[in-house]
């Protein structure tokens, strides 16, 4: 058994820690704060754009440029990694098929491609009605017989809609108290949208007025979701939604259907009597928090030592190896001895990479070699245009160890997630898959492939 220190509690760090602990390693997870999971949509993206919208992500991986983090891993390994994570979290939290993207509505009424989603979101997938019927996904998850009948009725025969065949109709229901869910905007934009299969979507909006905590004018999605953990409140919410929702195949509500209690979505759907889908809100993201809390609970239950609140600021070398990492704890530095280190600190957004006032890019903890060090020309004028700066990071060998001109930086130092160069992860929507697949690559190299 070796001692492994994992740095970072984003998707990459948590996945690596869990995989290592499951393989019997003694793992310490050290992190400043939680990573990006609770800011995310609570889905697992594999590849969404390349640069056009991707519907079959595993197939699209084959045509990515060599620099992309996926290129050295391959589609099969990516799929296996994502499936493993899905199994760890269980079907109540993640469902879907890594080979096919879902297209789920966002809080501005756009469609967003993703591979695995929470079961409470899947009914929002903008596939054609017949696809919904074939897969039987929505009816299977309905339990009450009335609800099943209602759903069968709503799945009417394909009709024409303005010359193109008719797609899904969303009945979007907003909550007056939740300012970050603009139901009218969402419905308006969805109604202007053609689904990836060429069908034309339709949508309408409605509102309910329901306070979660007495005296609270401006709840966050999280405090609202916490109230849903109370069964009686969730039922009141569902009845109000059922009454207000317009005609449509799917009733779309803000993603506040519970945080700790599983099955809130099922309860709400049964009362509403039609398929219900959650649409994630801007942070704090309730679906993202569900994943974060569940993953952290698994990690801790697997016996991982969890140290939160301190930055890792440096390390002590021993020949070509990292002997220990330095933790800036209260009361002075502490050394964490390690046989191997998985460094999963994210990218620019989490401070893992920094740019100083001269435009010099650096990685401050290990001083790792980067694919570029001058930010000057990497930021382009177009705000929405590609910014090569975000592709800057660490280049790795087949084991996931950082390499520079002089070869491997440290024999026992592995990296995972956002620190790896080659993808503008929020643009091509590969960040989650990269985090999971590179975390598992690092963990498996440390354990020699042992599961």
């Amino acid at each position: 058994m070796s001692r492994v220190v994992v740095i970072g509690a984003g998707l990459a760090g948590l996945t690596a820690a869990l995989r290592l602990a499951r393989a019997g390693q003694s793992v310490t997870l050290a992190t400043k704060g939680p990573g990006g999971l609770q800011l995310s949509q609570g889905t697992i993206d594999i590849l969404g754009y390349s640069p056009e919208r991707v519907t079959r992500p595993l197939e699209a991986i084959a045509s990515l440029p060599d620099e992309h983090p996926y290129a050295s891993i391959g589609a099969d390994e990516v799929a296996a990694a994502v499936i493993w994570l899905g199994q760890q979290l269980g079907p109540e939290l993640l469902t879907g098929d890594p080979s096919t993207n879902l297209h789920l509505p966002t809080a501005v009424g756009a469609l967003r491609p993703t591979a695995l989603a929470q079961p409470s979101m899947v009914a929002g997938d903008a596939r054609s009605l017949s696809a919904h019927e074939q897969r039987g996904a929505a009816p299977r998850s309905l339990s009450a017989p009335e609800a099943r009948d209602a759903h069968a009725r709503s799945l009417s025969a394909p009709e024409e809609r303005g010359g193109v065949s008719k797609g899904l109709t969303y009945a979007v229901v907003g909550v007056r108290q939740l300012k970050d869910f603009p139901a009218d905007l969402i419905a308006g934009n969805l109604a202007r949208t053609t689904a990836p299969d060429g069908t034309r979507l339709a949508a309408n909006s409605a509102w309910i007025d329901l306070q979660a905590r007495p005296g609270e004018a401006d709840p966050s999605p999280l405090t609202y979701a916490r109230s849903m953990d109370d069964e009686a409140f969730a039922a009141t919410f569902a009845r109000a939604v059922a009454k207000a929702a317009g005609k449509g195949d799917v009733v779309a509500v803000p993603a506040v259907l519970g945080i700790r209690r599983r099955g809130v979505w099922q309860q709400v759907q049964d009362i509403v009597g039609r398929p219900v889908c959650e649409i994630p809100l801007p942070p704090p993201s309730v679906p993202g928090l569900r994943l974060y809390e569940a993953l952290l609970a698994l990690v801790r239950a697997a016996g991982v030592r969890f140290i939160q609140g301190s930055h890792v600021t440096g390390f002590t070398p021993d020949g070509g190896r990292v002997a220990s990492v330095t933790l800036a704890a209260a009361g002075g530095p502490r050394e964490l001895a390690a046989d191997a280190v998985v460094f999963a600190p994210g990218g620019f957004e989490s401070g893992a990479l920094s740019v100083d006032s001269y435009g010099t890019i650096s990685e401050p903890v290990f001083g790792l070699p980067l694919t570029a060090t001058d930010a000057g020309e990497l930021i382009t004028e177009k705000y929405w245009g590609p910014h090569p700066l975000f592709e800057v990071g660490v280049r790795v060998d087949d084991a996931g160890r950082p390499v520079g001109e002089r070869g491997v930086a440290h024999e026992n130092l592995y990296v995972a997630g956002g620190i790896i160069a080659g993808a503008e992860r929020w643009r091509d929507k590969s960040g989650d898959g990269v985090a999971v697949a590179t975390a598992i690559r690092a963990a498996d190299h440390i354990t020699g492939g042992a599961r």
Binding site: L222, R226, R300, R305, Q308, G309, A328, A329, A330, A337
Partner: protein, 419 residues
């Protein structure tokens, strides 16, 4: 205090806050809401809008005036600072802003009184049975709530008939000669007066491991005064304690069983009271919370781990002020090595008491709501005992769950066959 001197004090604190380097950390806030999702207080009451709002956001508007009085509902648990990935010192900014506000508005007598932990201990020890009876008396507690503002349901310590120092004086000298050198022991007010048993056991474990344990005369660290905005008093207390802990030698490791007081010495006095004395920094870097120290020994291969089995389930709660030291939860790691002991981590942020917060009648209900998941978890998973590293949290857990709650060292003492 006169209005004028009050204004001057408030202005003094405001000037300090304005020039504190850590206040600048508010510019690092990217509004990610991570702190919001972790704050135990805003999770249970809409009276407190949460750390992001009250901290980095509202602080920009506190231009010579306390614009937002909801900062008083912050319990100073420190969780927001721990979780902020961008390094914003949210809790420290809140503590300072609250101190300014309290200086403007005046500090209630109640808040002055409940911070006097040593005084309470000294006064209660000789008359322990009487003091305990009074604190157990419903009528007395109702009067206390009405007159002083300490909630009748809030936990109160149990006074002991013998203080730690009396025991030290009376006990037979240790027979085994030390093999590993000397340590300084910091017991805190609780160890000295209320939880004498845990303090004795800590000393016995350290002696069993081969250390000579030096216990200097010591007072309070001032944490309770600090969290009630009484900064002058808190600074005087902590400076006095620093001198006392430096008496036995300035190169010895200092071991503490007072979890939150350790945090005061390691970082809070420096970051919140603004004390930059080299003596404080010296003590702050030499002090180790006892489980932290034992885990360091373990890491170095110097801790005997031939523990006797302790067959039971043990709910363990890592207190917020321990987690805010950024060292993980060493007691949990340590207890897991005892065969037969099934340690169940509470995974709850805070028990609600946050020092003296949960004693106050206007905050009692909030504190109980904060701790409820913890109390439920303890009730559901115990074999008659729970463990936690800080004293007021133990009293809170015991009071609200009905389950006896001890310092982790008590279990280690047992596992080494010492009890």
């Amino acid at each position: 205090m006169s209005q004028k001197s009050r204004d001057e004090r408030a202005q003094g604190l405001r000037d300090r806050l304005n020039t504190e380097l850590q206040r600048l950390s508010l510019d690092q806030c990217v509004k990610c809401t991570i702190c919001e999702t972790s704050c135990p207080v805003s999770a249970v009451t809409p009276l407190f809008p949460g750390p992001k709002f009250v901290g980095p956001q509202a602080e920009r508007f506190r231009d010579g005036e306390s614009v937002d009085h909801s900062v008083d509902y912050c319990s100073s648990c420190g969780t927001c600072t721990v979780v902020c990935p961008q390094g914003v010192n949210v809790a420290e900014i809140n503590s300072l802003a609250r101190a300014v506000m309290k200086a403007e508005d005046g500090v209630p007598v109640r808040d002055r009184m409940i911070t006097q932990t040593v005084l309470m201990g000294k006064a209660m020890t000789p008359v322990a049975p009487i003091a305990n009876a009074v604190l157990d008396n419903k009528l007395a507690r109702t009067v206390m709530e009405k007159v002083v503002g300490v909630h009748r349901g809030a936990p109160m310590p149990t006074a002991r008939t013998q203080s730690l120092h009396t025991w030290l004086k009376k006990r037979p000298k240790p027979t085994k000669a030390p093999t590993r050198g000397a340590l300084v022991y910091f017991h805190g007010c609780a160890g000295g007066y209320f939880e004498v048993d845990a303090a004795k056991k800590a000393i016995e474990v350290l002696e069993f491991l081969g250390y000579e344990v030096l216990v200097p005369k010591q007072g309070c660290c001032g944490l309770a005064e600090q969290s009630n905005g009484l900064f002058e008093q808190a600074s005087a207390s902590v400076r006095r304690l620093v001198d006392q802990l430096r008496k036995p030698g300035t190169d010895l490791t200092i071991i503490s069983t007072a979890g939150s007081c350790t945090g005061m010495l390691k970082h809070e006095a420096h970051e919140i009271l603004g004390i930059h004395d080299p003596e404080l920094l010296d003590v702050g870097t030499r002090i180790r919370e006892i489980s932290e120290f034992l885990m360091e020994l373990y890491e170095a291969g110097e801790l005997p781990t031939d523990f006797k089995p302790v067959n039971m389930r043990l709910p363990y709660h890592a207190p917020c002020q321990l987690k805010s030291q950024g060292m993980g939860t060493p007691a949990s790691d340590l207890l897991r090595m005892i065969p037969g002991l099934e340690v169940i981590d509470s995974n709850v942020t805070c028990c609600g008491i946050a020092g003296t917060y949960g004693l106050k009648k206007e905050k009692y209900e909030i504190a109980q709501a904060v701790g409820k998941p913890l109390f439920d978890m303890v009730k559901a998973n115990n074999d008659g005992l729970a463990a936690c590293d800080t004293e007021t949290c133990r009293w809170q857990i015991e009071n609200s769950s009905g389950v006896e709650t001890v310092h982790p060292i008590v279990l280690l003492h047992k596992a080494y066959g010492l009890s």
